[in-house]
């Protein structure tokens, strides 16, 4: 049996609970919100608890819903490698005047690497058979960039 004083202590020992553990969208000023639309101000992640007088402060960190540090580190990590690209042919490259042109293609890959194929003369169905290799070094965020093809009638 515990002494009465200790029993009493047990009954009054309450642990603080982080009742609020949420991400909140920020609300901007009225004129900016009218210009940019709601939801353009970003969000904040907030945790709140109230320790009533006499309650126990466990000094423990509450668990995080989202670890932004880790998310950003992942987004900023470099992806390195080679992008191989075979451009075989193009079909029905109709020119403005309806006549066959002298087409060639410019390829841009992420990291702004430019490559130009040879010119194939007097055709609307050029066979390029161009093989290119692009060294790539980008972050995950930048990796959304697209490979672009520009066909030009020479």
């Amino acid at each position: 049996m515990l002494p009465i004083s200790e029993k009493k202590l047990m009954l009054t020992r309450y642990l603080g609970v982080w009742c609020i553990n949420n991400k909140y969208k920020l609300i901007g000023s009225k004129d900016l919100e009218a210009k940019l639309g709601p939801g353009s101000f970003g969000e904040i992640y907030v945790q709140v608890r109230f320790l009533k007088e006499g309650m126990l402060d466990d000094n423990k960190e509450p668990e995080l819903l989202e670890n932004l540090e880790a998310v950003l580190a992942e987004q900023n990590a470099l992806i390195k490698g080679t992008l191989k690209l075979n451009l075989n042919h193009a079909k029905n490259l109709i020119s403005k005047d309806g006549k066959p042109g002298n087409p060639y293609c410019i390829i841009t890959a992420p990291n702004n690497k430019l490559a130009k194929t040879q010119i194939i003369k007097n055709t609307i169905n050029p066979i390029f058979e161009s093989k290119r290799t692009f060294p790539i070094s980008l972050t995950k965020r930048e990796a959304t960039e697209k490979v672009k093809f520009f066909y030009i009638h020479g």
């Binding site: 309450y14 920020l26 904040i44 992640y45 709140v48 608890r49 320790l51 009533k52």
Partner: protein, 147 residues
């Protein structure tokens, strides 16, 4: 308006001190609202995400001001050129207020500038839930010595 009414006849006369009980005791409710809440409000502003750029360089230099009811505002240091700042700002506020004066927590995010700072956005957060339900009983206190 709260009204009680009765009709009495000779057969069913009014009996002294037979008033019905008061359902909604306003005096008690007001007393409850005036009841003081005493304790510490612990706030953690962890991070901001995709904040609005307020500077011409496409960034902001964001910092946070937290307003708690009946306490002095607290402000954290700014983080330069960042739209995803990790502040980990953990202010504590001593609360000693009647229940009816416990307004929501207000958090402001500002962009630090040389002249006037620009407001990025604000948010009010009700702390009612925290006040009504501050803790849980430490049931494992007997098993372990701490929780």
């Amino acid at each position: 308006m709260y009204i009680q009414m009765g009709f009495f006849t000779q057969e069913k006369p009014y009996v002294e001190n037979s008033e019905p009980p008061v359902k909604d005791n306003l005096a008690e409710i007001i007393a409850k609202q005036k009841e003081k809440i005493v304790g510490t409000l612990q706030v953690r502003v962890i991070h901001g995400k995709d904040l609005l750029a307020r500077d011409n360089n496409g960034f902001s230099d964001p910092y946070v001001i937290v307003h708690a009811p009946g306490a002095k505002n607290q402000q954290c240091p700014k983080i330069d050129k960042n739209l995803n700042p990790i502040w980990k700002f953990m202010p504590k506020f001593n609360i000693n207020l009647p229940k009816d004066q416990l307004t929501p927590l207000k958090i402001e995010v500002w962009d630090d500038d040389l002249g006037f700072d620009d407001l990025i956005g604000t948010r009010e957060i009700s702390i009612q839930e925290c006040l009504d339900n501050p803790g849980m009983k430490c049931s494992q206190f007997r098993k372990k010595n701490s929780c």
